[in-house]
Amino acid sequence: MASAIITLINRPFAHWSQEKRQLWATVLLAAAFAIYPLLTDDDANIDTIANAMSYATLALGLNIVVGFAGLLDLGYAAFFAIGAYYYGIFTAYQVMPPWSEAWAPLAFLGLVEKINQGGPDLVHFTMSFWLALPTGALVAGFFGVLFGAPTLRLRGDYLAIVTLGFGEIVPILARNMESVTNGAAGLNGVKGPTLPAIKAIGFGGYSFGVDATPYYYVGMGLVALLIFSSIRLRDSRIGRAWMAIREDETAASAMGINLRNFKLLAFAIGASFSGFTGVFFVSKLQVATPEMFNFSVSSMLIVMVVLGGMGSVWGVVLGAGLLQLLQTWILPQTTNVLHDIGHAINSDMLVAADLVQWTQMFFGIIIVVMMLFRRDGLIPATRAQPKLEMEEQHADVKRGGFVNVDRIEKWNPGTGNALEIKDVTVRFGGLVALNKVNLTIPAGGVVAVIGPNGSGKSTLFNAITGLVTAEGSIKFEGMELIGLRPDEVLQKGVARTFQNIRLFPKLTVLENVLIGEHCRLKTLPFGAIFRPPSARAEEQGALRKALDIIGLFGNRLTPRANHTVSGLSYANRRRVEISRALASRPRILLLDEPTAGMNPNETLELAEQIAELNAMGLTILIIEHKLDVVTRLAQSVTVLDHGDVIAQGSADEVQRNEEVLTAYLGRAHRAKIEAQDAAAAKEKANG
């Protein structure tokens, strides 16, 4: 029904582009909020909305941690507290060391003042609100790194509990460290912001008082800043990396994303958003108490994010707004209505009703209902897919390799060996999965690894790419790979696909491929948010390159570039995975059963495409069990069985090899085959 209304409103503007419509909608919304305080006298309402803005910024920060990066943080209010107490300590009258001349320079800068409360002279910190905002963010961000460094590698539910623990410890510390925080009574006399005098334009300075309106505008500024930053981050290399981590950590790491650094980044940025909201919140209330930062605040923020949509910037703002609306307007108003009805029909129960008490109950119900029926939230983060035209839907099998190959830079494989695997052993507990495996892959060559189920083929790939620990030596172009993390291995130029296709399900084809380019791009958060020309150029270049790569597959992927990969056919998902690997500009490509699940025609098509990649200079190591593919592609074949190499040679030699036949078919079979071959030869000889 909501979508019907939106369609109706959209109709006069249907010829405008999506972006233009969104831009104007945003402008109108901002204007409405900007004008509101000028139109109303009700300071209480303005105050409420200003509070709501604080919660919106908190929710936006949490959205980065939970929604983008998938890190479940149940103690987010801890950073809120840190920002708040930071500002509180540096403006209230709690921490006041004795005055000495050493403080004079800071007094000159306006950071402290000398006061006297009937005793020796004391230092009173008078940090400016505007200075506290960014520094509070930094302090909170620092604590984010401190908390996160030891804990972010924990699995999701454990991380949730640990963050819950942190979320509890911080208010408890606030309550206990009385000398600094004044304990449970809280810090009073936190100073509101002041606008300094600017003589040049005759502006005499302004001190925020109890009137809510100036806070409202500051709040609006903060919300706008955070919405802007969130959206910019989301649509950048950074946001993509976070979402990759959220969807599939292992694949993200194998595609070059440094898990630890990016998780810490998300956590720290989220913490800093929370920190500076703390500064703002406390400057408005002019007091900081431990109760303002306990679990109920953290969990309310979770409700906001869940309601709005995890990972959805506007959704989260909506969620925050709705919950505040519920709490401060809907429930009290409904209570009043009930009271009136109660008086009218003489019902004591209705007269005594107080729905505001029910706020938390509603929070619980909202969570349950959303999780059961609409897990993606009110404004889901994944956008709707555009429908495909008829011709775009159907794609013929193309023989003859790729399309538009000239768009792609060729490789120069060089000479010598691309990969040297020496005496590699992998153990899982007592089981030896790979036993002193030796394998050499010449530069520019195609080597196939075959073997029965459980022979260790995928384990070999995992050992090369750093997903399992291995003994021995694996040298890629002379560089030792053993001991490197998967993202480091990718950076060196070794890319892979997975046997059971590990794409990032909620992301589009293009986003998946762009993640492949992650480690070759350099944009950092600053660049992502402010988009200097270098960052913009980099992103454009990356997009072009990604389109070129998926263009190799003709019209199979290109029309679906903005479709979520979870809706694609199995074969297309395989193609996306290969594109993603190619996007990292590898020098060797490890393909794990790439034609699995494809019919014979598709298999042939892909085999030719792989041959073409090799012709362009890419070294290929492929696990395959379809021998016609192996015969067509491989210059050399290695056979694994139970972790041992049992045969190596050309495809033809290996097929006739007795041990291989035994491994696949069983002991007794060999004799029969030999007997048949002998009989056939004899017949031939006899004419």
């Binding site: 030891p150 942190f166 509890e168 410890i169």
Partner: protein, 309 residues
């Protein structure tokens, strides 16, 4: 009091707390072992159980310390209260599982866990709105029988709590080790698909684990009431987090681990409260939680390191 007496008294207090936390941790770890789900509503089932027990005692005419019972009537009253409390709590747990968690069984990710946060809120507010947020007096029908061990005091209440806890633990162990359903539960925890193919009705096993877990939470709530003589709507969070720490310390998913962890946390809390004050004791306990998860996620007795998904 000499330091020896002090130590002994802390031991007694610690074991009481330990009993309560063990039962709560056991319930929690049972569900986790089978479903790998962190059930946030567990500690509010504990709270609801406490209020149910309070209500049952009131219905039977117990009021504050006005009525003191001994011998058979005492045992009878306690038995009835335990049975009703445990059964009702168990049914609440089953209700939560069947109605709310069952539909999410196939969904990967944190959806189920987040849902339990919501259920937790709902339980809390049902009591808050229905009964009120103030502290309620919990009836104490126990006679004041005490024994002196040096300077330390051992109360009848303490012995009773330990006795009940031991009985429940033995009962649980017997059930899990020796009965068919119990073995079905263990099999499901170790390999759910194989268990299904042996004919175990996994749905029933899951429901049963919730029932038992929640029943234990209810029993723990009753013990809280007997020990502290009050019930308050916000009692769940603090006790729950301690029980959670206990389960993690012992090894999450591990039944003997939960028992061990509970006792340890109880002892640690008792001694910390004495030595460094209640508030800092909280910090100590949460720090233990964080330290165990960071350095030894498998806990003392556990096998699996919960680092990889």
């Amino acid at each position: 009091m000499t330091s020896g007496d002090l130590f002994l008294q802390q031991l007694i207090n610690g074991l009481n707390l330990g009993a309560m936390y063990s039962l709560l941790a056991l319930g929690f770890t049972l569900v986790y072992g089978i479903m790998e789900l962190i059930n946030f509503s567990h500690f509010n089932v504990f709270m609801v159980g406490c209020f149910i027990a309070l209500g049952v005692l009131k219905l039977m005419g117990m009021d504050g310390q006005a009525v003191i019972l001994t011998g058979l009537p005492l045992i009878g009253v306690l038995l009835v209260t335990f049975l009703i409390t445990m059964f009702s709590s168990g049914m609440i747990g089953v209700g939560i599982e069947r109605l709310l968690l069952r539909p999410l069984r196939a969904v990967t990710g944190p959806a189920a866990m987040i849902l339990t946060i919501g259920v937790s809120y709902i339980l809390f507010n049902v009591i808050l709105i229905g009964i009120g947020g103030d502290t309620r007096n919990f009836a104490n029908p126990l006679p004041t029988v005490t024994w002196n061990i040096g300077g330390a005091v051992l109360r009848l209440r303490d012995v009773l709590i330990w006795g009940i806890t031991v009985i429940l633990m033995l009962g649980l162990t017997y059930f899990v080790q020796f009965t068919k359903l119990g073995k079905g539960m263990r099999a499901t925890a170790q390999d759910p698909e194989a268990a299904r193919m042996m004919g175990v009705e996994v749905d029933n096993v899951v429901g049963l684990s919730f029932f038992i877990g929640s029943a234990l939470a209810g029993a723990s709530g009753l013990i809280f009431g007997l020990y502290y003589n009050y019930a308050k709507v916000d009692m769940g969070f603090s006790a729950g987090l301690r029980a959670f720490t206990a389960a993690v310390l012992g090894g999450i998913g591990n039944v003997p681990g939960a028992m061990l962890g509970g006792v340890l946390i109880g002892l640690i809390e008792a001694s910390s409260s004495q030595l460094i004050g209640q508030l800092w004791a909280d910090v100590v306990i949460f720090s233990i939680l964080v330290i165990v998860l960071v350095f030894r996620p498998a806990g003392l007795l556990g096998r699996q390191a919960p680092n990889k998904s």
